[in-house]
């Protein structure tokens, strides 16, 4: 059996486990190991010889960085789009109203977490004159933002739609924020890529995988012309 090491942003964990499971049944000659970590960490690791053949990130920026350093075989490939939601289990209604009066808002650290970046972009776009400093509670990543809302420590937070579906949160408890660009989920093969990584790379763009991603709230990738 050939071992395929891949690295992925932890937000992708839900669908990826299923996709890889299917992949392994179809291709029993491969055994896939996934390491989940924040994208920044993954970049540093690939730079320093991590054995990952394929890297999946929640945004293309970090992969561009790797590509610029000639550590990937090609430019980052988008394979689906993640959607930002506002999770507000304690209040129901319009997201903007809820945000306006919120005491604390959880989100991922915009310095490095993709969902944090678009959450920040959303706030700036919708409330150009409001300074949220002091009301924003940052997490390491979108999962930590979700923890806080889940634990009830923060009444609302910017999280990913995929998380809501995974936790089976009733639709009334969150609002999908469509006014902000969804996050392109991107992947790239590294120089260590063997046949398995390449096969998986293609599989992700196929229908079966795309269906799984859609089930998890991602927007289907449509190949550009």
């Amino acid at each position: 059996k050939e071992t395929v090491h891949i690295a992925a942003a932890s937000s992708l964990r839900g669908p990826l486990e299923i996709i890889v499971g299917n992949f392994e049944t179809q291709h029993p000659e491969y055994e896939v190991h996934i390491s989940y970590a924040a994208s920044g960490k993954l970049v540093a690791q690939v730079q320093h010889g991590a054995p990952y053949g394929l890297v999946l990130a929640a945004e293309p920026d970090y992969l561009e960085e790797l590509h610029a350093r000639q550590l990937t075989l090609s430019a980052p490939q988008h394979f689906s789009y993640g959607q930002l939601v506002l999770w507000h289990p304690q209040q129901h209604g319009d997201a903007l109203d809820i945000l306006r009066d919120a005491k604390r808002i959880a989100l991922a650290q915009p310095r490095h977490a993709p969902y944090g970046k678009i959450a920040m972009r959303y706030l700036e776009q919708e409330f150009p004159d409001t300074d949220f400093t002091g009301r924003l509670v940052y997490g390491e990543n979108v999962a930590q933002a979700a923890h806080r809302v889940y634990a009830g420590a923060v009444p609302l937070g910017f999280v990913a739609l995929s998380q809501m579906l995974q936790l089976k949160i009733p639709e009334s408890d969150y609002s999908v924020l469509t006014s902000v660009e969804p996050l392109p989920q991107a992947m790239a093969l590294t120089k260590q890529a063997q046949s398995g990584a390449r096969l998986l790379y293609s599989a992700l763009l196929e229908d079966a995988a795309q269906q799984v991603l859609t089930d998890y709230g991602y927007i289907r990738y449509v190949a550009a012309e």
Binding site: G40, Y138, G139, H147, A153
Partner: protein, 215 residues
Amino acid sequence: MLQPSDWQAIGLTLQLAGVTTLVLLLLATPIAWWLAFSSSRWRAIVQAIVAMPLVLPPTVLGFYLLLLLSNSFAFTFTGIVIGSVIYSLPFAVQPLHESFRTMGRRPLQIAASLGAGRWDQFRTIVLPLCRGGFVVAATLVFAHTLGEFGVILMIGGSIPGETQVLSVLIYDHTEALNYRAAHTLSLGMIAVAMLVLIIVYGRWSKSPLQLGSER
């Protein structure tokens, strides 16, 4: 080179480490005392419980603490102090425990026979005789609080000026591939910590207790 937000984080970090160290010494001393001198059957169990904060990954510990503190101190300075205190508890208790145990009861009995009450004994005999233990406990806690970010990030939320400490900031910088800023802050942190520790350890080694070991 450093931005105001960095300075703010530095101040906050020192404050956090200082307060945590202080609180922990106050808290760990009676626990360690009880462990050293009680003959209760529960000793081993209490000792093991004290070590538990070490066993869980900090973020996981942080998550449970968040559940505990969610309606009170989460995302405040007090909250991260509580988190750091719990996280570093074993580093304070264990060296103190061992230190009290080796000191034994004899010096206290002598002090009592010379008229010293409990608190007086503690101040004039225990503190200086177990100075080594207190130094080990304090420096381990202080340094550990400087470096810890998992628990702090989880229950603090990295709010600038309130809970954004240096370790979280450095972590953010490395994650953002902002290596330059990370290096600068890391080096600064190391330099300051080295300085503090060299002074502490330098003074400590001059203690007359060193001589005492010869006879």
